[in-house]
């Protein structure tokens, strides 16, 4: 299903950066903030407005880890796998979340588009390792069980919505 795109909003983002090709990363970041991913339909529009070929837009989008061309869940778990978290056993946390949501390294988002599970290399909160973030909020000193509990309460919230 194609995401509905409000091109006026997209134009607003482009204008805020004066349509400069050098600002393409910032523009893509703001588009991603709107839709939680970068819908492919915006590329022809962006290309016309900024004067970059669609190919170069793709080349930039696919180079950077933070950009996603696939839709992501409403709730994004990011399990830190930086060195400090890794030596304090962050992998079992990741495995637990993936298992409970039937996700894997390849399939990171649930079919109902509710949850996404990813890894991130260091959030700078190493003092509290292992950590994970849920939609940007940092949860310190995690264990697989604590992560399960968080997931359980979030699932209940989703159901009651």
């Amino acid at each position: 299903m194609d995401t509905y795109i409000d091109y006026q909003k997209v134009d607003g983002i482009i204008e805020a950066h004066h349509g400069q090709p050098s600002a393409i990363i910032a523009i893509l970041q703001e588009i991603q903030e709107q839709y939680r991913y970068i819908p492919r339909q915006v590329f022809p529009h962006l290309s016309r407005r900024i004067g970059l070929s669609e190919a170069s837009l793709y080349s930039v989008t696919t180079f950077y880890e933070n950009f996603s061309l696939e839709q992501k869940g409403k709730i994004v778990f990011k399990v830190c796998d930086g060195t400090a978290c890794h030596v304090r056993k962050s992998l079992p946390i990741l495995e637990r979340l993936r298992k409970e949501l039937s996700l894997s390294e390849e399939k990171i988002t649930t079919d109902d588009l509710e949850f996404t599970v990813e890894t991130v290399a260091c959030l700078g909160a190493c003092g509290l390792s292992p950590v994970l973030t849920i939609n940007g909020k940092v949860y310190p000193a995690m264990t697989p069980d604590k992560a399960s509990e968080l997931l359980k309460s979030l699932k209940e919230e989703v159901r009651s919505c």
Binding site: S22, A26, G124, A125, C126
Partner: protein
């Protein structure tokens, strides 16, 4: 808007007086670590409680409210103890503070000046009231982090109250370009981002370029996992770094600067944005700064999650809106950098060192640490260490001092095995390096590097082959793919390491790893590629026996690699019922009924069917 030097001085004096008048202060740590532990909730609770108790609370420095100053400060360093706060004028440090502690702190400490012992840091039963009494701080020397935790990180006026922008004022009105470059050169300041290149030399090269347009770029893309020093500086004392960049602009004749910050540091981005807009408001940034003919504008670029963008030419490509890939050098960044113009590219900590050198002179800076690597270095110490956190010590402090005196030894008293320094580009140091002074040259001699300054401590339960695999999987994933040695070489090395930790290592794998490592180091395009094999080389050098145990004995000496776990039957609890041998799909279990059975680990595929089948829990998994 400040129009001239005198107005800046007057404002600074007013700030200094206001700071003296503001006797009581609560500084709540608002660094990433403490925020994650709920420091903002503590901050809010203080506001509510003060209102209820009728204590006047001043959340904004130099506002009309005269009362107890409540501030969001930068990182205090001892992240393990978050939420941390400092109470002035007593200098009390409270640790692990929860919102429900706020009322007691207010009635006891703020209103009656009494110390709340249960919130103090204690070590071996000894109560440490102030920062100076805490062993963690004793060996430290805070220069770059001087104000971190002591002022409000979101206030330009507070920065002025501790002498902020004095160095910039001096550079702008009392020094010429050559003078600034000379001072930095004489201080022997070396780049804190890893390589240790002389900052003065870099500045003088850019300064000599004849182009009209030049750029200053700050590398805040601290991608090294396990390092968060730059993050803490940007969050805790953003103006200090801006001041350093402005001085670089003056010295090199640049009017425009970019700060490239990792997207994973949202708090740093927002603090920097606040700092820039405040500086613009007061006329410290912008056109005709303080009435002079110096113009300077600073932009912030957020990274998009590519480790390679920490490399100079990749970083400038990313600011230009391109794929962040390094290019062949020369030409170097000082000649053809951002938008092909001469560019001063320095790391966050390097810029943060500049104001103190200009303000106090090169000789002050040279007085700290060894002459060839003077100054201090901020490190983040993490892993299995007692005091996880952010530290700053004079260059040349020994590893022993850092781990045991500052770091407080290993967590839970476990045995030290190694410390990884410099992240994925670095190496591991072991007991034999305990007396090694941590500075650029000494580390280089043992094949390591300071890198950005992340120290990850590993204890006896950490498998060094797995650590090497972890770093290789990181560099392999982050390889930009431009040059073959890094793109293909790291992939091959990773495959070999993966099979070793999975128990499928082959004879000759160690030599093959070293061979590949040699080729990659010699032929990769950029610094990140060249140093990618370092963790493997250094772990083989110091822990070859662990590699051999994995490969030849299919055993993990650290008892860490899951795939090398073996199943065995406890003869004490085994009743000899033969159920396990019946379910074993590979006929690895044998024995006589009513006597204990045995598992042949050569045949065993570790499917776990016997564990399920055994009613007496006699089949156990272990190393």
């Amino acid at each position: 808007m400040l129009k001239n030097k005198q107005e800046l001085r007057d404002l600074r004096e007013r700030c200094q007086r206001a700071a003296q008048d503001e006797v009581k202060k609560i500084l709540v740590c608002a660094g990433t670590g403490c925020v994650a532990s709920g420091s903002l909730e503590v901050y809010e609770r203080f506001q509510i409680e003060m209102q209820e108790k009728g204590i006047p609370c001043s959340v904004e420095f130099m506002s009309d409210v005269h009362g107890v100053g409540l501030k969001k400060s930068g990182c205090h360093g001892l992240c393990e103890m978050s939420v941390m706060l400092r109470i002035e004028p007593e200098g009390y440090i409270y640790t692990k503070v929860k919102p429900e502690d706020c009322a007691e702190i207010l009635t006891e400490t703020i209103q009656q000046g009494r110390h709340v012992e249960r919130l103090a840091y204690t070590k071996n039963g000894l109560v440490c009231k102030t920062q100076d009494e805490i062993p963690f701080y004793k060996k430290q020397k805070r220069v770059v982090l001087e104000h971190c935790g002591r002022i409000d990180a979101t206030s330009l006026l507070e920065y002025l109250s501790v002498g902020g922008y004095t160095a910039f004022e001096k550079a702008l009105f009392d020094m010429d370009k050559e003078g600034i470059v000379r001072e930095i050169s004489e201080s022997n300041l070396r780049g804190r981002g890893g390589g240790g290149f002389k900052t003065g030399q870099k500045w003088s090269q850019v300064s000599r370029q004849k182009e009209n347009k030049k750029y200053v770029v700050c590398n805040g893309d601290e991608g090294d996992p396990g390092a968060f020093m730059d993050c803490s500086i940007m969050e805790g004392d953003p103006h200090r770094m801006l001041e350093g960049m402005m001085i670089a602009g003056l010295a090199c004749g640049s009017d425009e600067a970019y700060i490239y910050v990792r997207a994973e540091y949202p708090l740093a981005v927002s603090r920097l944005k606040t700092a820039i807009s405040q500086a613009e408001k007061y006329g410290i940034l912008g056109d005709h700064i303080l009435g002079s003919d110096f113009n300077f504008h600073i932009h912030i670029n957020k990274g998009a999650g590519a480790f390679v963008c920490g490399e100079g030419s990749a970083l400038t490509a990313s600011i230009e809106g391109k794929r962040g890939m390094p290019r062949v050098k020369p030409p170097r960044t000082v000649e053809h950098g951002l938008f092909n113009k001469p560019t001063v590219l320095n790391n966050v900590e390097t810029f943060a060192n500049v104001p103190v050198i200009i303000d106090k002179g090169a000789s002050y800076f040279l007085g700290i640490g060894p002459g060839n690597s003077p100054g201090t270095k901020a490190f983040s110490i993490t892993g299995t260490i007692a005091n996880t956190g952010l530290i700053e010590v004079p260059m040349g402090t020994t590893l022993q001092e850092v781990i045991f005196e500052v770091g407080g030894g290993l967590k839970g008293g476990s045995k030290f095995k190694a410390v990884q320094i410099g992240g994925p580009s670095g190496a591991c140091l072991t007991e034999e390096h305990f007396n090694l002074p941590l500075d650029f040259d000494s580390l280089k001699k043992v094949g390591a590097m300071i890198g950005s300054g992340g120290l990850v401590v590993a204890d006896e339960n950490t498998c060094m082959v797995e650590i090497a695999r972890f770093f290789m999987s990181f560099t392999q994933k982050e390889s930009c793919g431009k040059c073959v040695p890094c793109r293909e070489g790291t992939k091959r090395m990773l495959k070999i390491l993966e099979r070793i930790v999975a128990g499928d290592g082959r004879d000759g794998d160690i030599d093959l790893l070293l061979d590949l490592a040699g080729t990659i180091t010699a032929t990769a395009l950029c610094g990140l590629g060249k140093t990618a094999p370092s963790p493997v080389i250094s772990t083989i050098r110091s822990f070859r026996h662990e590699y051999e145990a994995h490969i030849y004995e299919k055993r993990c000496p650290a008892h860490s690699c899951e795939k090398l776990k073996r199943l065995s039957i406890n003869p004490e609890t085994c009743k000899g019922c033969s159920k396990c041998s019946k379910v074993c799909p590979v006929e690895a279990i044998s024995g006589k009924v009513k006597t204990p059975f045995e598992i042949n680990s050569e045949k065993c595929i570790r499917c776990g069917a016997c564990v399920e089948a055994c009613k007496f829990d006699a089949v156990t998994e272990g190393w």
